[in-house]
């Protein structure tokens, strides 16, 4: 008789895997990616392809020659995901060498230095974006306007909804907000901005897909969105120079951040309670930075700040233990 395997229970597995989750998120990003190609043309394709290629290369190179991992991690899809998300946070006309530098920072410094997937404290793509924003402020904040001919390399640039909002608050003049694009335009992505953030509809399709596939739960995205609506709504009611809540929600990287960045497994809290606290704080910080901060966009900084608080939240927010409640 052949030898029997003896191991501890459970003897079956759900079949879920790290790469299934990673590729699931990538599939959820496809609608937004196609939209960015449509709106920003060849520039978007080049930036995305280069960002993915360099992230994958750095992950492979560092894993193989510096960390000497016995198990290659490059196939799990996480580096591809970081590459796509980083590209989504860049303008389509950015010089290409900067994309490579950003990828190196994201993968090399933020992810692999801490030990690779699962060990990083900060979201690699967002940290890469923050690094680029501080290092190359001009190139990172001139956005081509959406919907120019496909093969335009030297695209015309223009104001984004966020810069309009900021100008209105600075001047204290609500009439400046009349330059804002219409809500339907913002919903579809007919505005200036980073690659992946413009088309709200495509991002929401991605959210629905991830919820249906149970890749993420509703807690983080919904708590961010509700907080942003409530907080910016209160500001708008108090003074008309603050933009209305729907414009806040649909502009900049808010939806991209709420749906794809803040929900990053590694850097978000583990319990439902913790996730809601995390989401609410991100929402508040985003609006605070957008309204009173030095930068027009606060989403990425808000998420990075809350990434730093995640270990603390994990330490204090415990799930409801069985039997904790007194009997009914």
């Amino acid at each position: 008789m052949n030898k029997l395997t003896v191991s501890l229970s459970p003897h079956v597995h759900s079949g879920d895997s790290v790469s299934k989750n990673m590729y699931g998120v990538i599939i959820a990003l496809v609608p937004a990616m196609l939209c960015s190609f449509w709106f920003f043309g060849i520039g978007a394709i080049t930036v995305t392809a280069l960002s993915v290629a360099s992230c994958v290369f750095f992950e492979w190179f560092i894993g193989k020659y510096m960390l000497r991992n016995p198990q290659p991690t490059v196939t799990d899809g996480s580096a591809i995901l970081t590459g796509i998300l980083l590209a989504f946070n860049l303008p389509s006309n950015i010089p290409l060498w900067m994309v490579v530098a950003g990828s190196l920072f994201a993968i090399g410094v933020v992810k692999m230095t801490f030990g690779g997937l699962g060990c990083n404290l900060f979201n690699p793509a967002l940290a890469g974006r923050a690094f680029m924003l501080i290092s190359f402020p001009v190139q990172m904040t001139t956005w081509p306007t959406s919907g120019q001919p496909f093969l335009t390399l030297d695209a015309a640039t223009g104001a984004t909804p966020l810069s309009v909002m900021k100008a209105a608050v600075k001047a204290g003049d609500p009439s400046l907000l009349n330059d804002m694009p219409s809500l339907p335009d913002m919903l579809l992505g007919m505005t200036g901005g980073c690659l992946g953030e413009v088309c709200a509809v495509a991002l929401i399709i991605g959210l629905i897909y991830m919820l249906a596939k149970r890749i993420i739960t509703w807690h983080i995205p919904v708590s961010i969105i509700v907080t942003v609506l409530v907080f910016s709504g209160a500001l708008h009611l108090a003074n008309g120079m603050y933009a209305d809540p729907m414009s806040q929600l649909l502009s900049g990287g808010l939806l991209l951040g709420a749906i794809f960045m803040a929900t990053d497994y590694v850097t978000s809290p583990m319990t439902k309670k913790g996730q809601i606290i995390y989401g609410v704080c991100i929402g508040v910080l985003t609006i605070v930075i957008r309204t009173w901060g030095a930068y027009p966009e606060g989403m990425s900084f808000a998420i990075l700040i809350m990434n730093a608080f995640t270990p603390l939240i994990n330490n204090y927010c415990k799930p409801k233990r069985f039997g904790e409640e007194v009997k009914k």
């Binding site: 191991s7 459970p10 003897h11 079956v12 597995h13 583990m270 233990r321 069985f322 039997g323 904790e324």
Partner: protein, 447 residues
């Protein structure tokens, strides 16, 4: 439909043998009875080599209050008092009996007639408990906790209801399902006996909704008596866990250990136990046989057998077409909580609910990768624990933190490891931590 409130998973059900009527398994040539087939002190043998025994004769007596008598399931001669490998994988003391004929103890009523509770108005609760204790009945769902101990709750606690666990939430297993379909009347009487023994007037029979025929039949039978309600439950693992079942049926949560289920007024007994109680009290038949599911995707024909305890599992597998060539693992019990057996010669014991054959390719774990902190284990844990954290603490031997994080509440259901996308051995590590922490607590209390 009702279910428990925290966590849980839904593994593929694979109830392959659900339509197979219970068949009587053949007698073994040699029956083997480990002295420790229950939780608590091992039983003490009262026979010696060369003694003649009959079916239903006591061969080992309880070694304490939390222990159980053991009866011979066969007639024949005691071959030796030796050891055998049991489901735990260790060599344990056991009585070996060579089978000769099939001669039963005369006091056992072998007729098929149903004896109703009304036929025995003289029975008191105490009589029933004594009878159950005498018959060596333990929890037949797999935990094998002596049945009479649960019926004698510590002073100060007041039982309010008996819940019959007919959930059978483990994938593959169908023994309880078939027992309900074929012995519904006996189970109803057994439930009434347990209720009387516990001194309560409310009984529940909890069945998962993937057994609609059993729900319908038990509902029909329950209508003929007072005080028994059949509760259909949504299919969800680990609903058969004692604490989860109480939460699902009466909406109360048992506090963290050392609190007992009776602290919220519930006494849980398996449906197989209810059947055994009926046979012990009404038919004078001690516990020496049980229903065992023999199943697996690669097995020729999956079956449910009525098996005399002590029969080697290999004999049951042979009756189902033999062990397939590509077998990689043989599990005593279900795939979520069962134990992988080192050999198929392990005898069927009181707690053996099934034998599951797995193909070689299904029997190996995938390599583990680093935790990606997806929090799926936290959502799946039915006790509201954080398996990712507990396993990390176990790896760094941080027992103090594990105790603070309530590792002793873990029921070892395996939901965390089942759901982990990184294939991490979460439960292995949590078990290690749990047993270490329990040892630390014990030594602290004895100081």
């Amino acid at each position: 439909m009702k279910t428990f409130r925290i966590g849980g998973v839904h593994p593929a059900e694979n109830k392959l043998s659900a339509d197979q009527p219970i068949k009587v398994a053949e007698l073994p040539r040699v029956a083997v009875f480990p002295l420790s087939q229950h939780i608590g002190a091992p039983a003490k043998p009262i026979v010696k080599k060369g003694d003649k025994v009959k079916v239903g004769q006591m061969i080992a007596e309880a070694g304490g209050f939390v222990s159980a008598n053991i009866f011979s399931s066969v007639s024949g001669t005691v071959l030796k008092l030796d050891t055998c490998i049991d489901a735990s994988g260790y060599d344990k003391p056991a009585i070996h009996i060579t089978v000769e004929g099939d001669e039963w103890m005369p006091e056992i009523d072998r007729s098929k007639d149903i004896v109703r509770l009304e036929a025995r108005p003289d029975l008191t609760g105490r009589d029933i408990v004594e009878k159950i204790k005498g018959a060596g009945i333990v929890g037949l769902g797999g935990a094998t906790f002596p049945c009479h101990v649960k019926l004698c709750p510590p002073p100060g606690s007041k039982p309010e209801c008996v819940i019959i666990n007919a959930v059978e939430c483990e994938p593959y297993l169908t023994a309880d399902h078939r027992l309900m379909l074929e012995h519904a009347d006996e189970i109803i009487v057994g439930t009434l006996l347990l209720m009387k023994a516990a001194g309560v007037s409310q009984g529940y029979i909890a069945i998962e909704s993937n057994k609609p025929d059993a729900i319908q039949l038990m509902q029909l039978k329950a209508m003929t008596v007072y005080g028994i309600e059949v509760v259909p439950l949504k299919v969800r693992y680990p609903q058969g866990g004692e604490k989860q079942l109480i939460d699902a049926v009466i909406g109360r949560q048992v506090p963290a250990p050392p609190a007992l289920p009776v602290s919220v007024g519930a006494i849980i007994q398996n449906v197989g136990t209810a059947f055994a109680v009926y046979e012990a009290v009404m038919k004078n038949k001690p516990l020496f046989e049980r229903v065992v599911t023999v199943t697996g995707k690669s097995l020729g024909n999956c079956q449910n057998f009525l098996v005399r305890l002590g029969t080697p599992m290999s004999q049951l597998i042979d009756a189902c077409g033999g062990l397939p060539e590509d077998t990689g693992k043989v599990i005593g019990g279900g795939p979520m909580m069962g134990k992988a057996l080192p050999t198929t010669e392990v005898p069927v014991c009181k707690g053996s609910s099934g034998v599951l054959i797995m193909r070689d390719e299904e029997s190996h774990r995938k390599p583990a990768s680093t935790c990606i902190r997806c929090a799926k284990c936290v959502s799946a844990c039915p006790m509201g624990l954080e398996p990712y954290l507990l396993s990390a603490c176990a790896e760094t031997q941080n027992w103090e933190k594990m105790e603070k994080e309530m590792v002793t509440s873990c029921i070892e259901c395996g939901c965390c490891q089942f759901t982990c996308p990184a294939n991490r051995p979460l439960l292995d590590l949590v078990r290690l931590g749990k047993s270490t922490v329990m040892g630390i607590i014990k030594s602290r209390n004895t100081k």
